[in-house]
Symmetry: C2
Subunit: 382 residues, 2 copies
């Protein structure tokens, strides 16, 4: 095992990159999709299933974990990996996004964000320094700078203000992380990523990216997308932003997305993703398959003995009938959510594996066109 | 595989019996505990986990399955076993108990029970003939006569009336089952059990048992207990009832119960049980262990790195920390219910296996006293 953090590119197909992030806890094959384990569990899945699905790395949410069970408690229990029985790499976000999207009352100052918990109304503060401290207490392998996420659409002035504040917070996050390394709270095997902000404004994105690159961070995320701007605007912003990021560092598109989003983003050169979609949509009765999206609540499935997806590498996709899963979802049974979360988590991993293979074979564009026809062929209405 | 249904006693320890029920779908080792798969799923468990826990047979609920997905639909889909991916034996109840406990409005006549669904208010009828027809459509291996269950306490006259009606319904259930066998709707490998009723009145229980025994059924259940009369009254009624049942037929105590209930009932000669307690209590945060019952919501577990139960044969009981399960249950996460339902279902099967071994070794009473000290040592309050 490596004792440091590194990234290497193994193959390229157009702008799409096949690589490896090497960490002391294992290798992350990129392009990679990180299942979301918000409160230290990928919802409705055993950790063995997540591993078996092919995931190399999970995401944990700083905001949720600081509120419950608490970062100091997780540290006393030996860290997040041991707590949730996941021995591979874990990335934690900084909490910035959830302060915006979940907390009740918040006040953003130069110092940081004051907010009230969505769970019990208790008062908390997140700053770059505290966010990094929490992420070190959790022991995550990839940490994210603290940033301010704003809702779109927003005035350019407001987007610019938040982007510039996030840059100052990036500097403070980096200093806090270096101090953790110096004091033994983190190691050189862990990494801190910067986050490019700037809404859908290309000039702001460029300034954000250039300032972060000047800080020479080990990886860069594109944040503040997939917040309602739509697929086309997301892809356009991404296409305009990525050229300002270095080729030799991993690029992480935060909170994205649909299978189509993933394909188009990998085509542009993104290496990492996370999204709750596979598990959340699974709980709501949707199955991602190589033939499109099935709404298992739909009455058409009630007497269909076919499996969910013959092509899936997930046993549940091949073994349970559509009729049975329809019944489970209609009945609100745990097993329905368990089966569909498993199937969808596996589909996302299978999709990433197929993309990695297509890049290795230098036929990503051809693969993408074939695959889009298949997976967009069917989208069953709610 | 046998093509008929049979029961043999292999060993005895006092009144406690170790036996085997042989069915075309497999052997049921008795004393046996049947996990409850109400709506064609043992809640929060994959069928493989139920099998791995050691269960030889499951229970399905006629009332629930007739309402959703419907018995005719299950039959069109190939029967309940195929539908829920359980190839071992299945016992179905008759629906009588749930008509009493769940349906909105009901009217009991000599013909049967008219009621409204608790799901959507739709009107349905259950009679001995329809109950048997449904159970044959589901394809269950052990079927139960249709009976009237009344709530206790009740006037003796009312208990007697319901008991006598249940005897007439037993006759009709038996004729209906024989007609199904004659017409190919059932086989000689399937069995119909009678149900002894009579509340906590020993004289009524005797009359019920004797009348059913005169019908020469392949097995007998004791119904109408564990409905609020308490452990002592249940054991006393059981002790007074079982002597009226033949030694060479399996005896099934319906809807029971706690680990203590199971031990005391096996001691009296009961062979089969079912209860929602392992899964329901698991969803509510309770863990059954060889050291007693743990309430995982309890703050004392918040930083306890010990596993739930080192002695369990369930991997989850040995691998997840109490601190983690506490966190999952407090957070309302699926995985908490999944882990505890799995642990509890395994505990019940481990308990039955230990009882079977103690009977084989002709030391049931000694085993029971040792075990009761252990499992009753701890019961954490809600």
């Amino acid at each position: 095992m490596s004792s440091t953090f590194s990234f290497k590119r193994l193959a390229q197909s157009g702008l799409a990159r096949r690589g490896e992030i090497v960490t002391p806890r294992g290798i992350i094959r990129t392009p990679a999709f990180m299942p979301v384990g918000t409160v230290a569990t990928v919802k409705a899945l055993y950790p063995e299933q997540v591993k078996q699905a092919g995931a190399d790395i999970l995401l944990g949410n700083t905001y949720h974990l600081m509120l419950r069970p608490g970062a100091e408690r997780v540290a006393r229990l030996g860290g997040l990996h041991k707590f949730m029985r996941w021995d591979g790499p874990i990335l934690t976000d900084s909490g910035g996004f959830q302060v915006m999207s979940l907390s009740k009352i918040r006040k953003i100052t130069e110092e940081g964000a004051q907010f009230q918990s969505h769970l019990d109304g208790s008062r908390h503060m997140l700053s770059p320094e505290r966010s990094i401290e929490i992420q070190c207490l959790l022991g995550s392998d990839i940490q994210m700078q603290f940033d301010e996420c704003i809702e779109l659409p927003a005035e350019r002035r407001e987007v610019e203000r938040a982007m510039e504040l996030s840059l100052r917070w990036a500097e403070r996050s980096k200093r806090a992380f270096e101090a953790q390394v110096a004091s033994g709270g983190a190691t050189r095997g862990q990494a801190l990523f910067g986050i490019v902000q700037g809404g859908v404004d290309v000039e702001l994105r460029r300034r954000s990216a250039e300032a972060l690159v000047a800080m020479d961070m080990p990886g860069y995320a594109v944040g503040g997308l997939a917040v309602g701007e739509g697929h086309e605007a997301m892809v356009a912003t991404l296409a305009a932003t990525l050229p300002f990021l270095p080729q030799d560092k991993p690029r992480y598109l935060m909170g994205v997305g649909t299978p189509l989003d993933l394909i188009e983003s990998v085509r542009l050169g993104v290496d990492m993703f996370d999204c709750v979609m596979p598990t959340r949509n699974g709980r709501h009765g949707y199955a991602f398959t190589w033939g499109g999206v099935l709404n298992m609540k739909n009455a058409k499935h009630a007497e269909d003995l076919a499996p969910i997806d013959e092509e899936s590498s997930c046993p549940a996709a091949r073994e349970y009938s559509r009729a049975y899963v329809h019944h489970l979802i209609r009945s609100g049974e745990f097993l329905g959510a368990m089966i569909l979360s498993w199937i969808n988590t596996t589909f996302y991993q299978d999709l990433m594996a197929a993309m990695r293979k297509a890049i290795e074979e230098n036929r990503f564009d051809a693969w993408a066109e074939e695959t889009k026809v298949r997976i967009l062929a069917r989208k069953e209405a709610a």
